[in-house]
């Protein structure tokens, strides 16, 4: 399981990059969902988001999931190409699979990489 050390993580398996405000879903989340077949971003540039509010809806062959904002702020960019390539969330969740960028983002209740790794291990079985 890949957990980059420069990112922050939520209990609902989103990541947030304090350096540039980018947010997405974690490697653990994409692995649990298995093959992702549909993604819809629910917010657009210029909108404000609040911690815990839905920013995207994701469907895999197993399940569907809402993705929640890990930080509050204004949406400065959205990854428009994602809808056409939902599989990017499986192949590169922390890179090309970023979902939105939140400017001036105040992160909510987030964990660092070590805490998140322990949190995932605790759920493994």
């Amino acid at each position: 399981m890949n957990v980059p050390s420069n990112l922050k993580y939520t209990k609902s398996d989103e990541w947030f990059d304090p350096a540039n405000g980018a947010a997405g879903i974690t490697d653990y989340a994409q692995n649990q969902l298995s093959d992702i077949v549909f993604v819809e971003l629910l917010v657009d540039e210029g909108e404000t988001v609040e911690v815990g509010k839905p920013i995207a809806s994701v469907e895999s062959v197993k399940a569907s999931a809402e993705i929640y904002a890990p930080a509050s702020g204004t949406v400065s960019a959205v990854n428009k190409g994602l809808a056409d390539k939902p599989e990017t969330l499986n192949s590169d969740p922390f890179g090309e699979g970023w979902m939105i960028k939140i400017a001036g983002g105040n992160a909510g209740d987030v964990m660092d990489a070590d805490a998140y790794t322990a949190y995932c291990d605790g759920r493994a079985h």
Binding site: D35, V37, F38, E59, V61, K62, A63, P86, E87, H125
Partner: protein, 495 residues
């Protein structure tokens, strides 16, 4: 792999081949509508009658139904559908009537509907019942509409939140979303009950109510059900019961007595109406005294009392603050109500209770036989179903692989990946209609598959091996949504 390929009906088509030869027209020809209203392209298949019959007969042999074998699809209650239901629903008096006939000419049908309302009230402990909803989710929508109407009538308009446990059926939040309400998810605790602390935190004066399935989708009867109901009621909310799992409770527990305000019945689960293609479904809704005035209109009522010599006159009545019609006519009468009425008549009160007792016994027997082979994360006495993990320590075999392999053992797979709170969930509901031999064969198959998962995992990864078609590419099917048998000319631009 035993691949039997049957071409699609479009591939079998040959230009000019006919099923029916029409006689020459004996009426004058008239001009066609303007060209811009006509389709130039409608590639209907052209075949003889015999080709069509053989094609669909072949396809029907690829099917697997509850008449073929065991069908432990959790939460769907795939019980055997007695064939006497098929006789009664085809009795001419039921079959050849129209919903717009004068009531005096359909008294038998109305009497059956009236009695069905009464029986469902008795079974569930509710004060009123509507038979209109077409199936379960339609029943949910009807129930939530009544909850909203109740709060609105009291000018309690700030109530917009519905509390829904994380073990709920997906239809619950969907029904709520259809009404523009918001959903607050309540987690389950380590014993599979509603987490009371989380519930307490969510209970306030913005709560419409709670939608609870009891027993829930883990097959667990909530051990704190009275507390849960009281907490929701204390904050002014209403209790919705999802009746999908009623097969565990018949003659034993009545949701109305537990304090529920509304519940839908799935006649196509609990009361032996066929599912899906053999249906249609039927989703009557029962309500407590405080919601009876909001029931959909019309209900069947007695409009002239009878006496010793004279039958009462049945007709239609409208509740005082009815939410209105939920369906053009009166629900799925022949397909749903007559079959379910027959089923209830055939069993009677003691028989219905035995149904639930055997459903619970069968589920517990299977759980006991499988508990040492598969991990059961919420391991206590279950009700009519239980959920186990379809994965093994240090193995890459998943629930889907186990399910596909079960098809090689001639069993329908259980429900996969639901509820979401169990990793690699396999949700097993045997129902009361299976005998011990069948249950043993099924348990033996699952134990053999667990052994295969260790010794030859690829046998599972590539399963099924004995079906007409092998493993379907679900990812491709979900990502490339081409549902046409031919591609429209402008397909590339549509993309």
């Amino acid at each position: 792999m035993a691949t039997i390929v049957e071409p699609t009906i479009f591939e079998l088509s040959s230009p000019g081949r006919l099923g029916v030869t029409m006689p020459a027209s004996d009426v004058p020809e008239t001009a066609l509508p303007p060209k811009n209203l006509l389709r130039s392209d409608l590639p209907l298949p052209e075949l003889a009658e015999v080709d069509v019959v053989r094609h669909y007969t072949k396809l029907s042999k690829f099917n697997y139904s509850v008449d073929d074998g065991f069908y432990p699809l959790g939460s769907c209650t795939m019980k055997y559908n007695p064939k006497i239901n098929e006789d009664t629903c085809r009795l001419p008096g039921f079959l050849y009537t129209h919903p717009l006939q004068p009531i005096e000419t359909v008294q038998g049908n109305l009497a059956l509907m009236f009695e069905m309302q009464e029986w469902l009230k008795e079974i569930s402990g509710f004060a009123g019942v509507t038979l209109q909803p077409a199936a379960g989710a339609h029943g949910e929508f009807t129930g939530v509409l009544m909850m909203a109407a109740y709060h609105k009538a009291r000018n309690d308009t700030k109530r917009t939140k519905m509390l829904i446990p994380d073990a709920a059926h997906g239809t619950n939040p969907a029904s709520v979303g259809m009404l523009g309400m918001s959903v607050v998810t309540i987690p389950s605790d380590s014993r599979g009950n509603v987490d009371l602390k989380a519930l307490e935190a969510a209970c306030d004066d913005t709560v419409v109510g709670m939608m609870l399935t009891n027993p829930n989708t883990l097959g667990m009867f909530d051990e704190n059900i009275e507390k849960v109901v009281n907490m929701v009621k204390d904050c002014g909310g209403l209790m919705y019961g999802d009746g999908a799992n009623l097969n565990a409770l018949l003659g034993i527990v009545r949701p109305g007595d537990l304090g529920f305000d509304v519940m839908h019945f799935n006649l196509h689960k609990t009361f032996s109406v066929p599912h899906g293609g053999g249906g249609p479904g039927s989703g009557p809704v029962g309500v407590s005294q405080r919601l009876v005035d909001y029931l959909p209109s019309p209900l069947v009522g007695i409009i002239e009392e009878g006496d010793d010599d004279l039958e009462p006159l049945y007709g239609f009545v409208t509740p005082k603050h009815s939410i209105g019609r939920m369906k053009a006519f009166h629900g799925h009468f022949g397909g749903g109500l007559v079959r379910a009425y027959t089923y209830i008549s055939m069993h009677g009160p003691d028989g219905l209770k035995a149904i639930s007792q055997f459903a619970v016994l069968n589920a517990n027997y299977l759980q006991a036989r499988l508990r040492s082979t598969y991990k059961i994360p919420y391991d206590r006495i279950c009700m009519h179903e239980f959920v186990m993990e379809g994965q093994f320590e240090g193995s890459d075999v998943r629930a889907l692989d186990i399910s596909k392999r079960l098809m090689d053992y001639k069993f329908h797979p259980p429900t996969n990946y639901f509820p979401l709170i169990v990793h690699e969930a396999l949700m097993i509901e045997p129902t009361e209609t299976e005998n011990k031999d069948t249950l043993d064969r099924f348990a033996d198959a699952l134990i053999a598959i667990a052994e295969e998962a260790k010794s030859q995992p690829d046998l599972l990864h590539n399963a099924p091996h004995s079906t007409p078609f092998g493993r379907m590419d679900e990812v491709k099917a979900a990502r490339e949504l081409v549902l046409c048998c031919w591609l429209p000319e402008n397909y590339e631009t549509l993309k």
